[in-house]
Symmetry: C2
Subunit: 337 residues, 2 copies
DNA sequence: GTGAAAGCGCTAACAG
DNA sequence: CTGTTAGCGCTTTCAC
């Protein structure tokens, strides 16, 4: 690999002159610049990224850290962040936190291989986040509340979402409602569940212990939990799945058991994934404002990078997407037919 | 930010000793190591990633370059590559080539910010690829055939796929078949179209010019092209969409026009995206072996990184996924009813 | 304008 | 085992 030294030598100028010419500094004569550029071309010279970063101690790159790069759920979010990054002249890379402490993500954070980060990865501990963040290294955290120097939150009001979903079910006449839970250690799940409970309590409704099943946020989990519920005999008139993926799995379980949705049991989800619109029946769900939260996160990061002061926490509201998986009922029981 | 120098000073040892201690070299006494580690802890010291990379001129990171990070289509591919990278002790970052010449992706490639790359981004020119690749910088290209030093191809046989899709339609009795095309400059589209033509010719069938519409690989495009086809009056008995996204859009257009699928017109797609299984009717399509091609690409990259010799090009075969969007017909015309 | 020289933070010979 | 030293490739004063 040719270095700038080689270029300077070939062009017959000093190292610094080559550097100036290459970065388009105006204090180099056009003629000299041409000479340097020509030499660079001949040698197929490329700047070495690291040397540059090391020298400037800025990378012009921000990282988006996700639990799993392959989740389909993030499309919208990624796009909006990407837009903001691009329009600020920054590069965006995405990295996965799979592998925990030893993951790419943690290395990028701790070793400051980027200028800042947006994190949506529950397997990165608060400690790591606190250790990494600082005045010169802002981090926007989107999956938990956390405070500290250089740390800012962009959160979606999950409790409100859980409440809205449950409230909607109640308003449609449902009184026996089950909650299929996500992972026990998930902050998001906890919020949604709290909202569920608030709505239930408000109406003097009780959660039946045997309906409280866990499906760990994946389709298969929703499927199994629902199967179990069906096996136990007594069905609720509506079930609130802590996320859409589980609702999709649940729907399959009901279908296989010959239970009509929403005829016999109504379903509501959370997230509004792309699939939600396409399954039969289309899933009523709670929509997270991914676009808005993505651009907000991006903008905040750049403000911090510019040294501007920002609030420590931002909360976005959710919305209900009414489709066809919830049936209006009379007396709290959907009935046999 | 504390440097290794500060750590050494605080621990009262030489710079190199600190470096050795920090990287766990065995030639440092346990006691000294402890002292150094303690000093590092006190100063909240973190290695500077760039300095390390610059020195070692290796990053232990590979990049996956995608046109658009937010495409849902890549999930499986990303996962399989990620697995391979992780098990080789490498980090994987994903970056987008949006922005063309000035994109993050191009910078990472040209400035060698990673040790190698897997590319699936048609907006990165062959020239850039050739300029970036070399003996010390392997690139696996998955979206076009290209040869050169350090360049390897992993391709899916799109022509065969186009042929299989069309052949299937013909075998089901269809004789008037339309092809809704992807972007004119897409290599993938060209292959699929060629396969289509081969099957048509083989059977002595003609492509009707007015059915040759383009939908540029997006849902909206498929929708519009189909609308146009419907407006023109005469419908084919089957249509082959160059990808599933367009087929989804096309389905919507047919639905809106009250044309029954597959009753009046059969549909076949290409890619087998997640949605394909969930739409009504479930879409018959050509499946690309994403897992296989992802791991193959990953393995090849690491072999090249290790200096092993590999073939210049690998081709993977596709498969047909039979679902319910194609109807078997008698005489080449689906008929009015 | 141009050139010499001083590092950015780190690793790895090398000599003690 | 420990300390000295020479760079990795680049940018950027500071004199000329």
């Amino acid at each position: 690999m040719a270095t700038i030294k080689d270029v300077a030598k070939l062009a017959g100028v000093a190292l610094s002159t080559a550097s100036y010419a290459l970065s388009g500094d105006s204090k180099v004569s056009t003629k000299t610049r041409e000479k340097v550029l020509e030499a660079a071309r001949q040698l197929n010279y490329r700047k070495n990224g690291f040397a540059m970063d090391l020298k400037k101690s800025r990378t012009n790159t921000i990282a988006l850290i996700l639990t799993d790069l392959s989740g389909p759920f993030y499309s919208e979010l990624i796009r909006s962040i990407q837009d903001v990054a691009l329009s600020n002249g920054y590069d965006l890379i995405a990295c996965s936190s799979m592998g925990g402490e030893d993951s790419t993500a943690v290395r990028f954070l701790l070793e400051k291989r980027v200028d800042g980060a947006i994190v949506l990865a529950h397997n990165i501990t608060d400690d790591i986040l606190r250790a990494a963040a600082g005045e010169r290294f802002p981090i926007v955290v989107m999956d938990r509340p956390i405070t500290g120097d250089g740390l800012v939150n962009v959160l979606v009001d999950g409790e409100e979402g859980g409440y809205r979903a449950t409230r909607y079910l109640i308003d449609q006449g449902h009184r026996s409602i089950a909650y299929i839970s996500g992972p026990a250690n998930s902050y998001d799940n906890a919020l949604r569940y709290e909202g569920f409970l608030r709505a239930m309590r408000e109406e003097g409704l009780e959660e039946k212990a045997k309906w409280k099943l866990s499906g760990s946020f994946i389709r298969e989990g929703g499927y199994k939990a629902t199967k179990m519920m069906i096996m136990q005999g007594e069905l609720p008139s509506a079930v609130f799945y802590a996320n859409d993926e589980m609702a999709v799995g649940g729907l399959k379980a009901f279908e296989e058991a010959g239970v009509s949705v929403p005829g016999e049991v109504s379903l509501i989800g959370f997230d509004d994934i792309q699939l939600a619109e396409y399954i039969q029946p289309p899933l009523t769900t709670i929509r997270q404002p991914m676009n808005e939260s993505g651009s907000l996160a991006g903008h905040l990061l750049f403000q911090m990078l510019n040294g501007d002061q920002v609030e420590a926490s931002y909360s976005l509201r959710i919305g209900l997407v009414e489709r066809q998986s919830v049936l209006k009922v009379r007396n709290g029981v959907t009935g046999e037919a």
